[in-house]
């Protein structure tokens, strides 16, 4: 067959100029029409939403940024009368009290010890949370055994290593918030694993004891547990033994968190297929070796998001220790509010905003992390 070489009359030799995409089907106008004003009801909703944003956002920006006072040495800087204009947030107050918010009344010359503990803790947390980190077993040993001991010696001080003793009544602020939550997680994770194993045990008495503990603790508010630790712990101990004021709520928080942790871990244990148990048993492993080598590594891995979520809850719940008189971040903020040097109408809201921002950044960061882990764990199941 011969190929015709005559030019075909109706084919264009050159491409025509590109036309802009139809504005009504693509582009931002179409997007706005489709997403915000597709119907009467939708338009009303959009207008209501815009009105709410208008009510909240501009005043908030004015208060926290435009009208805010950033520098100053005392309340004069944040008083509308002395500044001569509308005054927003008094960030100068947060700046002045910042070290109190972080360390509480911890002695000035010893604060380097707290800083070292913060750095050591950050290393431990990063080691554990980074799933591809080298030697994560060692990381767990570091965080759950070595770090608590070192941190205790550094913070409390001990004459044996030549560090001056700092009484726990001087600890405060973010330091105490972190101490309570880290102790909570360090104690509650192993205890929670034990309780979860106990609840799934074949031994009736072990199971009964675990179920009673878990259900009772989960059925009562944390505040009652804290009151109990605060008033009843000294009663239960022999004679003149009076536990440290900070230790009492720590015991309460740790026991409370372990009941919740147990339920999370139990979810992981139940998700492991029966074949894994049977496989381990057919290899001749005993109960503890089966759990340690086969079951728990898999179970704990799938409940990392749950553990992080429990920790977020625990972290927010640490604020309750302020009710039983422990100087956590909330309590230190409350205390500075009665300081006459900074007493202004805006101080209270500024202090609360600072505390709120601190908790928000920590909790939001953790929840993002747990979502990322969840996505990563689900990646294997995706087709």
């Amino acid at each position: 067959m011969a190929i015709t070489t005559e030019p075909v009359a109706y084919v264009r030799g050159t491409p025509i100029a590109e036309q802009p995409p139809p504005l009504m089907a693509r582009g931002w106008v179409a997007w706005v029409r489709e997403n915000l004003f597709s119907s009467v009801g939708n338009t009303i909703l959009t207008l209501i939403a815009l009105y709410i944003i208008y009510l909240v956002v501009p005043p908030a920006i004015r208060f926290f940024f435009l009208d805010a006072v950033w520098t100053g040495s005392d309340r004069e800087a944040c008083l509308a009368a002395s500044v001569g204009r509308e005054v927003g947030a008094c960030w100068a107050y947060v700046d002045a009290k910042f070290s109190y918010f972080v360390y509480g009344s911890y002695p000035w010359d010893e604060r380097w010890r707290v800083d070292i503990v913060f750095v050591l803790g950050a290393i431990g947390i990063a080691w554990l949370l980074w799933l591809d980190a080298p030697k994560r077993n060692l990381g767990a040993l570091y965080f759950f055994v070595i770090f608590p001991v070192v941190a205790f010696i550094l913070l409390r001080g001990s004459t044996a290593v030549g560090l001056e003793r700092v009484d726990t009544s001087l600890w405060g602020g973010i330091l105490v918030t972190l101490v309570v939550s880290i102790v909570g997680i360090v104690v509650s994770l192993p205890l929670g694993v034990l309780l979860a194993l106990g609840r799934r045990s074949r031994l009736p008495l072990v199971r009964l004891a675990s179920v009673i503990f878990i259900e009772v603790v989960r059925g009562v508010p944390l505040i009652t547990v804290l009151f109990m630790a605060n008033t009843m712990l000294p009663l239960f101990l022999p004679g003149n033994m009076s536990p440290d004021r900070l230790l009492r709520p720590l015991v309460g928080v740790a026991l409370f968190a372990s009941a919740y942790m147990a339920e999370v871990v139990r979810g992981g244990l139940q998700a492991i297929p029966k074949g894994q148990y049977e496989g381990a048993m057919s290899l001749g492993l005993g109960y503890w070796r089966m759990m340690r080598l086969i079951i728990l590594p898999q179970a704990l891995r799938i409940v990392i998001p749950g553990i992080v979520n429990t920790f977020i809850g625990l972290f927010k719940d640490t604020t309750l220790v302020s009710i039983v008189g422990i100087f956590d971040l909330i309590k230190t903020v409350e205390v500075t509010l009665v300081d006459p040097t900074w007493a202004t109408p805006v101080t209270r809201l500024t202090g609360y905003a600072f505390a709120g921002l601190f908790y928000f950044i920590c909790c939001y960061g953790m929840s993002r992390y747990s979502l990322a882990v969840e996505r990563r764990l689900a990646a294997g199941q995706k087709r």
Binding site: L36, A49, I53, R202, V216, T224, M228, M232, C363
Partner: protein, 396 residues
Amino acid sequence: MTDVTQSTSPRTSLINDPRVRGIAYQVILVAILALLIYEATTNAIENLRRARIASGFDFLSTTAGFDVNQTLIPFSSSGGSTYGDAFIVGLLNTLLVAAIGIVLATILGFIVGVARLSSNWIVAKLAKVYVEAIRNVPLLLQLFIWYNAVLKALPNPRQSYEVGSGIFLNNRGLFAPQPLLEPGAGLVIGAAVAGIVGAFIFRRWARRRQEMTGQQAPVGTVALALIVGLPLLVFLLAGRPIALSYPELRGFNFAGGVQIFPEFVALLVGLSTYTAAFIAEIVRAGILAVSRGQTEAAHALGLREGPTLRLVVIPQAMRVIVPPLTSQYLNLTKNSSLAVAIGYPDLAQVFMGTVLNQTGQAVEVIAITMAVYLAISLITSLVMNIYNRRAAIVER
């Protein structure tokens, strides 16, 4: 072929026998627990004896030496009210704030949860910001903000905001007109109850008739007439037996009317907005769990958006929503004990706070408080289990 049934157990030493080991573990556990309890009890008895604190539950019938500002039952120290009465006052206040809080949190939570799935971008984003902002800040801090920074910052009674006619808002709380019941008011209340019951019966009848014959009845109009019209008619016929007592400014405070304390408002608003954020996430997850095919099938049958959501999606989503929703209700009830921080007289504040301080009987008071919360939790889970059994999908 020999029989493979084993008549004798394999020879293992006693220490490796799993059954013996199991029994040994349990014996050790029981021994440790018994020792702990024994030690704690003897120490407690010894310590209490030394501090000269009485034990037992006699204190419940002792006259209480304090007053409570918000009470649902008559309570006054001069009137001879006892610590037992204080317990009832606290319990009722806890139940009051929990019940209203649950209703508000559910309404707000469902609205926000549905809004998060809205096709309207700005509404969905706004709902998301609400959920993230509320969930990531501790409840205690939010209560402090509501109570100290919002409600206590309101003007004093002389400069109160007038919200509506006869409703005033100031730093002593919310003042609203109080209905005064005169003889004959019982008839009006009875009519209102009858109206509501009648409306339900009419709805059931209308639905059954529609299923049988396909005829529809004007349920909305009839229900409105029964619920609003009937009591109004009785009210007018009986000679207006209900009057309103309006709050009036006298001196530095209001008199008359009903006063809603700022502690109550702060706790209620804080609890319901906080729990609503969690409920919103549960509702969203529940709706997403209903497969897309259900919505498409409903549309194919000719149902519009509203009926699709109401008749097809929500009933199926409820199966997923209800169990976590219950645990949120329980959380709200337990969180209401944070009242202790802002001074709302709930069980924790009145009983575990004031009564504990006055009597010093820590063991009894804390045990009773914990038992109450535990009982609420257990009863709720029991009811929920029954519901779940009824709502579960019946499979072949």
